[in-house]
């Protein structure tokens, strides 16, 4: 709802200058100008043309973006045709990746991407929700604005910086403290957590990703929570609910779909993240479900191997992984956006 409201005010603000745009460039007497303005209110001769022109430009921009997405999809398809012709849809489930023999398959990378993004989401979602609830329900004004600023600052840090930090700070930390600690808890009995090894693992990459998507999920959820009508909250409080009960049963329940879509958008960001992932994930080949050993992701394998790939089938296979990733993010983002629309409809 906040989004639509902003959009509405946004268009109004944009339309205003073009309404008045007929006059100010020329220097005219004030009386003449006012009469002109009155006239232009009735039938704007120059304004109409200008507005139409403006509409064409914006429509053109929109078509350009859609066209570009279509061209990218098409190019990914033609670029990867060789791989699809060779293996068909089985390319998605093949686990070999051997540039020497010319054997390629996408499954280990799809799994790596899903595992790291999923784990990142598992870690980031509660933290982000905590931030969002704190910012909307609990934080005093003096604390709120600086906190929002810091959270959004986190979103502006380039991913390569996160990657460097991952290599030099997080990976040794994970290796020495985090992995042994998790392995000692009951979690360590799960098949997803094997024997802790060096610090470049699926787990390290997931941690980095979670830090990177927290600002996105937190600020989107904050907007969702802010859109919860005041009466609902106050109603719950008036009925004797504690603040926590009101938050849990009213605010969170009300914003459920919105929070879900925030999570989906955060997941989309994690899926596509390349630099920080490839710097910390360990880049091993082969199917791996163990968070405590090196893995690989769809983005990492493309970034790593495309540059020196000389054989056509190698390039084609990398592009095919790109196409799969493109479709995955496309679907995920569509779902997220649809859910946001749904919430706005529900709330509005």
């Amino acid at each position: 709802m906040s989004l639509t409201r902003k959009e509405r005010t946004g268009t109004r603000a944009a339309a205003k200058p073009s309404d008045e745009g007929a006059g100010p460039s020329e220097v005219v007497g004030s009386r003449e100008r006012s009469s002109r303005r009155r006239r232009s209110l009735r039938s704007p001769p120059g304004g109409l043309l200008r507005r139409r022109w403006f509409r064409y430009v914006t429509a053109g921009a929109a078509v350009l973006v859609v066209g570009m997405a279509a061209i990218i999809a098409f190019q990914l398809w033609t670029g990867s045709r060789l791989a699809w012709e060779e293996w068909g849809l089985a390319f998605i489930t093949r686990t070999e990746w051997d540039p020497v023999q010319g054997e390629f398959g996408a499954l280990p990378f799809i799994v790596g991407t899903l595992l790291t993004s999923g784990m990142a989401l598992l870690i980031a979602l509660p933290v982000s929700l905590g931030i969002a609830i704190l910012l909307t329900e609990y934080a005093p004004r003096a604390l709120r604005d600086p906190l929002i600023f810091v959270v959004e600052l986190l979103a502006a840090v380039p991913s390569v910086v996160f990657g460097l930090w991952g290599i030099f700070v997080l990976a040794p930390l994970v290796q020495r403290h985090v992995m042994p600690w998790v392995a000692a808890t009951p979690l360590g009995l799960l098949p997803f957590f094997g024997e802790p090894g060096p610090g470049y693992t699926l787990f390290t990459a997931s941690l980095i990703l979670s830090i990177m998507i927290i600002p996105i999920i937190a600020s989107l959820s904050r907007e969702v929570l802010m859109a919860v009508p005041r009466d609902q909250k106050e109603g719950a409080l008036a009925l004797g609910a504690t603040r926590w009960e009101a938050t849990r049963h009213v605010v969170l329940a009300y914003g459920r779909a919105g929070i879900f879509s925030a999570a989906v958008l955060g997941l989309g960001r994690a899926l596509g993240e390349t630099m920080a992932t490839t710097m910390t994930i360990g880049n091993s080949l082969g199917l791996n479900f163990d968070f405590f050993s090196p893995g690989n992701s769809m983005t990492a394998i493309i970034a790593n191997e495309l540059r020196e790939a000389a054989a056509e089938i190698h390039v084609s296979s990398l592009v095919a992984i790109g196409l799969i990733l493109f479709l995955m993010s496309f679907i995920l983002n569509t779902v997220g956006r649809l859910l946001i629309l749904q919430t706005h409809k529900g709330v509005g």
């Binding site: 540039p99 610090g199 880049n283 091993s284 080949l285």
Partner: protein, 368 residues
């Protein structure tokens, strides 16, 4: 939503910058055609970037000729060469049979010698000796601990820790990987069969680091690790490197001299410049002082420059020849500055004979 709006506003100056940059470089190019030597464009290996960028600035200072080199990777360089969109390409691996067919009439000119080292992180051990088959077995997973009998046998004077070996390798495709795997495939039949040699291979195990710096970082961060990096990185970072036993049975530390010696030992077997070079490699070279993990980097250029179509003019053809001649003669002196080994004398002679074959409009190109 706020963040979105901010990004868009922030993007405007960037977009302006992006618009301005091509304009600048265009105006930069316009002036070049007037000079006696036109700007040349090359593309290829990232490994060769430090040397070629040093060369192009020295070359411009000495002769006024300009060379733009784009380090887009060997694969990209070879594609650009096949498409005829660059004047020369650079690669650590020679053209394969199939590539050579597609780029008919390619001349192969080795221009420098790169050396790959085995860097390790073993506290309190400063001399480690390895052989090719032991290295292969470590990277295959057959040898898992430092105190394995086969490593101890090579290093009787030191006490090796009973720790698991952490293996680090390149995750990105690279010429360094090509040299390393080419060597292992020669000395270990098991490696040749299970993994093979290429710029990227199916690693059976280990951590993948992006770039030499990534592998170097992985080695430094992980005690008891072993990985391969280029000599210049090992030198600059002061990382200990293993002595590797060469074919003559001597343990050789990685060095520029060891690389040149290995190339010199291989000179007899080199083909002529216009012949296919796909099976040329002097890893595991004979010779008492040869270091076994060294390799050429190559320029690829067409014998008949007319193949480049509109990319080429009489002035440019002369520039190509002048540049190539300079790199394999005077340019060789700069190798040491970037921890590359210089070409042996016989290879320089071979290259000059190759460059003499270059033709344009059916005539040999003789720079004035």
């Amino acid at each position: 939503m706020n963040a979105g709006a901010r990004t868009i506003r922030g993007a405007t100056p960037l977009a302006l910058l992006a618009l301005a940059v091509p304009t600048l470089s265009l105006s930069g190019c316009a002036g070049d055609g007037e000079g006696r030597s036109a700007t040349l464009t090359g593309a290829g290996a990232t490994f060769a970037m430090p040397l070629i960028s040093l060369w192009s600035s020295e070359y411009e200072a000495m002769t006024g000729g300009r060379v733009n080199y784009n380090s887009i990777g060997s694969g990209g360089g070879i594609r650009a060469h096949i498409d005829g969109t660059v004047h020369f390409a650079a690669s650590e691996a020679p053209l394969s049979v199939e590539q050579f067919e597609r780029a008919e009439g390619t001349l192969t000119i080795p221009f420098t010698i790169g050396t790959v080292t085995l860097a390790y992180n073993l506290p309190e051990i400063d001399e480690l000796r390895l052989t090719g088959d032991v290295i292969a077995d470590i990277f295959l997973g057959g040898i898992t601990h430092w105190n394995d009998a086969r490593i101890e046998e090579l290093n009787p004077d030191i006490t090796l820790p009973a720790e698991r070996i952490v293996v680090a390798h390149r995750s990105d495709g690279s010429g360094t990987t090509y040299v390393f795997t080419d060597y292992l495939a020669k000395v270990s039949p098991e490696w040749a069969e299970q993994v093979g040699s290429s710029t990227s291979v199916a690693w059976p195990l280990g951590i993948g680091g992006n770039g030499n710096e990534g592998v170097a970082g992985a080695i430094r961060n992980n005690p008891y690790s072993l990985g391969y990096i280029e000599l210049s990185y090992a030198n600059n970072l002061g990382m200990p490197t293993a002595l590797v036993r060469n074919r003559a049975g001597n343990y050789i530390a990685p060095s520029l001299e060891g690389g040149t010696a290995a190339a010199a030992a291989a000179v007899e077997t080199l083909p002529a410049g216009h012949e296919p070079w796909h099976d040329v490699s002097f890893t595991d070279a004979p010779g008492e002082t040869s270091y076994p993990l060294s390799s050429f980097s190559y320029f690829m250029v067409y014998e008949d420059l007319d193949r480049l179509g509109s990319q080429i003019t009489p002035e440019r053809a002369e520039s190509v020849v002048r540049w190539l001649e300079w790199t394999v003669t005077e340019g060789q002196a700069f190798n040491g500055d970037v921890s590359n080994a210089a070409l042996p004398e016989r290879v320089r002679e071979l290259n000059l004979a190759t460059i003499e074959r270059i033709r344009f409009n059916g005539e040999p190109v003789r720079p004035r």
